[in-house]
């Protein structure tokens, strides 16, 4: 029973620490909410390092508003409820001015109520399924219309694909994305029976039957294409099986939305040359800003490390936040948010990203072919696509619109001209 006493003692220590952290010298605190352990650590640790690198760079440039930036790193350990707890801790105990973090939708949904309750500010750097617009979140990753739709268009127009296999890991992002794509494809005149959908568990490794099913789709003489929202490790088994089955990118192209440089570093890509990925950023982008970014990253983290799309999202998000805070003259959330709208910052891939009133970026979409060295060859770049919080291809969301600047509403029904709700449906 001493545990209760120790608990009490512990709580006092916690509290003391809380006040102690308040007392340290005057800095601007930036919360970094990425998992450093657990299943998501594989992806998120990189983003934590990116944030630390960006903050160091900014401090070297003289900080922000005459103060130094201080990173507060916490580890939500890939445990979704812990994300909410840690977010609350960041906002109330450490009193950070902004949070950069999260990777999966479920972690974001876990954090949303806390951020909205405490009026925090979160920058979410990963591509996601849309259908959400929170006043307190800036989505610097791609919305479906910035990744999935252009990639599908590319399949339809450039590759002449007539039959689609939508393969995904069974969670929200693939489910919603595939829903949107199914609806989109039907609007494009693709029949129901020409769309094959399959969901597999996280970390799935037995792909032989699914690959065989996909190959068999070609039996009616239509060109088959695979749209993959397969997540993380499972991709390794999938691509290995694809290579073993001799599926060439010329016969059955695969476009992936969750496979970047980082994922490819886990496998031998010689047999996968020509398969595709759609992102807003590839390491191979040939610009000066990118060369510098990649160089700094490699100098900090090691020569064999690669850069990827969510890193660029943090790069843009962080710099926009710095500029907005400078412009507002304060790091107070509402002031920064107001200054964020219309913020512009150069992409690493060239061109300029613009922050829209719906908290999404306007960015060009790139499509890359996998090369033998594990990098992507950028073969197509669209015009700038404004991110769309509510997709136009599902009937319920087509009428919705998000505009926090003028309408002050993230879920505005354009049909009835009313604001459905100002808080998110998490």
């Amino acid at each position: 029973m001493t545990s209760f006493k120790s608990t009490l003692a512990g709580s006092v220590v916690f509290a003391a620490m809380a006040t102690a952290t308040l007392a340290v010298e005057d800095t601007i605190k930036v919360g970094v909410l990425h998992s450093l352990s657990g299943t998501m650590a594989i992806s998120e640790t990189t983003l934590k390092d990116t944030m630390l690198m960006l903050i160091d760079q900014q401090n070297a440039k003289g900080g922000l508003l005459g103060k130094q930036l201080e990173a507060v790193v916490v580890d939500p350990a890939s445990d979704w409820p812990l994300f909410a707890e840690k977010a609350r801790e960041l906002l109330t105990v450490h009193e950070v001015d902004v949070i950069f973090g999260n990777w999966t939708s479920v972690s974001r949904k876990s954090v949303l109520p806390v951020i909205e309750e405490l009026n925090g500010l979160l920058f979410y750097p990963v591509q996601y399924e849309g259908e959400e617009s929170s006043k307190n979140v800036f989505y610097t990753g791609a919305a479906p219309n910035q990744q999935a739709i252009p990639a599908t268009d590319y399949f339809l127009d450039e590759l002449g694909v007539e039959k689609f296999a939508l393969l995904g890991t069974d969670y929200v992002y693939p489910r919603t994305t595939n829903n949107i794509l199914e609806s989109y494809l039907k609007q494009k005149g693709i029949a129901d029976e020409d769309i094959f959908v399959n969901y597999t568990p996280f970390g799935h490794s037995d792909w032989s039957k699914i690959v065989a099913d996909v190959v068999a789709l070609g039996a009616d003489g239509k060109k088959v294409g695979v749209i993959s929202t397969i997540n993380g490790d499972a991709n390794i088994g999938f691509y290995k099986e694809l290579a073993a089955a001799g599926v060439s990118a010329d016969d059955i192209p695969v476009v992936a939305f969750s496979v970047g440089e980082e994922e490819l570093s886990g496998l031998d890509t010689t047999n996968l040359v020509g398969h595709l990925a759609a992102w807003n950023y590839f390491q191979s982008a040939d610009t000066e800003a990118n060369a510098e970014f990649v160089e700094t990253w490699k100098a900090t983290m090691g020569e064999d490390r690669v850069t990827n799309d969510p890193m660029e999202a943090h790069y843009i998000g962080f710099n926009m936040w710095v500029n907005a805070a400078t412009q507002a003259g304060s790091t107070e959330v509402d002031a920064v948010r107001a200054a964020m709208y219309g913020q512009e910052f150069p992409n690493l891939t060239g061109g300029t990203a613009v922050m829209l009133p719906n908290h999404h970026l306007a960015k060009p979409v790139l499509i890359g072919e996998i090369q033998a060295d594990g990098q992507f060859d950028i073969i197509s770049e669209t015009d700038v696509v404004p991110g769309d919080a509510w997709t136009d291809y599902l009937p319920e969301s087509a009428v919705l619109k998000s505009d926090w600047k003028d309408l002050g509403c993230g879920m505005y029904n354009t049909q009835t001209q009313t604001c459905v709700q100002t808080l998110s449906n998490y």
């Binding site: 352990s37 299943t39 650590a41 594989i42 640790t45 590319y154 127009d157 450039e158 590759l159 002449g160 069974d170 094959f196 959908v197 399959n198 969901y199 597999t200 568990p201 970390g203 799935h204 490794s205 037995d206 032989s208 039957k209 699914i210 065989a212 099913d213 190959v215 068999a216 070609g218 039996a219 009616d220 003489g221 239509k222 060109k223 490790d233 390794i236 088994g237 290995k240 099986e241 290579a243 073993a244 089955a245 001799g246 990118a249 010329d250 016969d251 192209p253 980082e262 994922e263 570093s265 886990g266 496998l267 031998d268 047999n271 020509g274 499509i367 072919e369 060859d377 073969i379 197509s380």
Partner: protein, 650 residues
Amino acid sequence: MFRLFLASLALVGTCLTASAQEAALQTILQEHRATIAESSRKTIGPAIDAIAASGLPQAQRMLETWAAKDMWMRKSDGLFFAGRKGEGRTYVLTDFDTGATVGSFASSELAQLKPNSGIRAMIGTALVRFQLSDPDRGKRLSALDSIQRAPEAVLLPPLRASIEAEPDVEIKMRKQRLERLLTIGYDTDHRARVQAIDDMSDGLGLDLRAALNPLLVTSRHVAPALPDEANIAAVLEPGREGLSVVDAYDLLVARDLAPPRVSQDDIRNALAAHIVGGRVGDVPVAQLDTDAARAQAYAALARAGAVPALVTQADMAAAVAGHVFFDAYVEPSRAVTEAAQQALDRIDLKVGMNQTLDLALDAVSLASIYFLAAIGLAITFGVMGVINMAHGEFIMMGAYTGYVVQQVIPDHTLSIIVAIPMAFAVTFAAGVAMERLVIRWLYARPLETLLATFGISIALQQLAKNIFGTQARPLTAPGWLDGAWVLNDVVSISYIRIAIFVLALIFLALFLYIAKRTRLGLEMRAVTQNPRMAGSMGINPGRVNMLTFGLGSGIAGIAGVAIGLFAKVTSDLGSDYIVQSFMTVVVGGVGNIWGALAGAGMIGFLQKGIEWMNPSNTLAAQTYMIVFIIIFIQFRPRGIIALKGRAAGD
């Protein structure tokens, strides 16, 4: 457009006009500079046609260069050249027409043209004509690939013409097969097409089905009466055979043959549009919160003529009754569709049988993976009765050993040969250490062994993360294991899976040999059955237990190398297999290697069977499999192969 190109090509070929010789390829390229630079499949067609139709000998090389992404545009004047990497960041350019080197340029002055695979396919099709009789065998093959990928009617004559002179037997056979397939789809004489269908109908290839299925595409029609000229597939009766009355009515609506149905949303919008003084059709707005009240208000509006009347069931039935609904083939020739239908029926049966075979192969492969993962456990848990929750981590250690060996020895074949005994040694040592330090103190407390080994499991997993990082690590199979053993277009299995199957067999044999034919095996069995009695016979039970446990762990390590080869190497590799492995052993029956084999077989086949029934949701297959196992154990608590008598233990 393509016909145009061939027509002009024929013209060029016969007349050999001098003007074609004079026109340089660069001129044509410059005419189409914008579309070539834009590089979109939608607009590139005319450019490719023009290049191919130019009849210039250099067009082939230019198209090949382009498809290989080796064509560059000089930014200063927009001219196109073949580019070759030179010193540093420069490229050496060559003129297409003259073949002369133009000079070397920095990459910033040039723009590389990267045709996407759609355009590359079009270039490939354009090249077919040049390549079909090319002396280079590889080019002839790639021409055939292009035809296969994008079959077109215009390709049939050149293909036919090239068969006679084909020197290579294999290519000739492929050409003949392609010719038959193109005949089915594109010949103008339908007797020839029926003949081709009959010729081919004993195959089951994907390409054949891809040729036949498009012939049977139907479209749905509505007409007042059945037309005579249409090639009708089926006449549909609304309300039956997959065409509901509502669907039929919607079809009429789509053809403007009937007024649209009014949905609940339409009613609500109509009501909202006709609010007059807080009332709609005499019903107060506040009361419109039931469907009945809304219907009443809408009816009032309809009577007033403000909105279209509701379409009732009777209206729909009447409208539908006045029409015939039928599916008609797009293909006009009845003889062709009938022949195709018959051929496909025959093929479908064969495909079905082959699919079953393929599924069985998949199941065997999955079973052998489970068996390999569980065989170590069958020894430690099945024979010794020790629950080792860290078994999965031993598998992981084996996989990482394979990775480390591959870092040291770059040759893939050699590294695998080294990695297998290394993995065995590493996990054998780990197993022995664990047995000595932990498990031997807990033999009488099996539940606590479970918890202690679980503690080791989480510690090992985290250690792996700390050492190797959270990234998946590559473990690449040697080149000769790439690819698949292809029986036909339906049945195939990758070599790596065959290798795993063979490995599983080897270990089954090895284990049987050790258990039945060696001193260690004898002692092992004795200690398992009665340690005290064995001890009094001069056997050292502690040593035997240690070696048995080491053996089981060592095999887990080798399983790790195999699993790493076909899947991924991460720190949680083991935990993916641990529950399945336990199930395999429990379902099969403890204390018997055959039990593990039976368990793995059952789980493998079951999972594939469920996947086959529900192909769109693999997760469901896993769920139902576990539920099935739970129920199965109720009825055979000791597994499929249960030990009988005293050996059955408690």
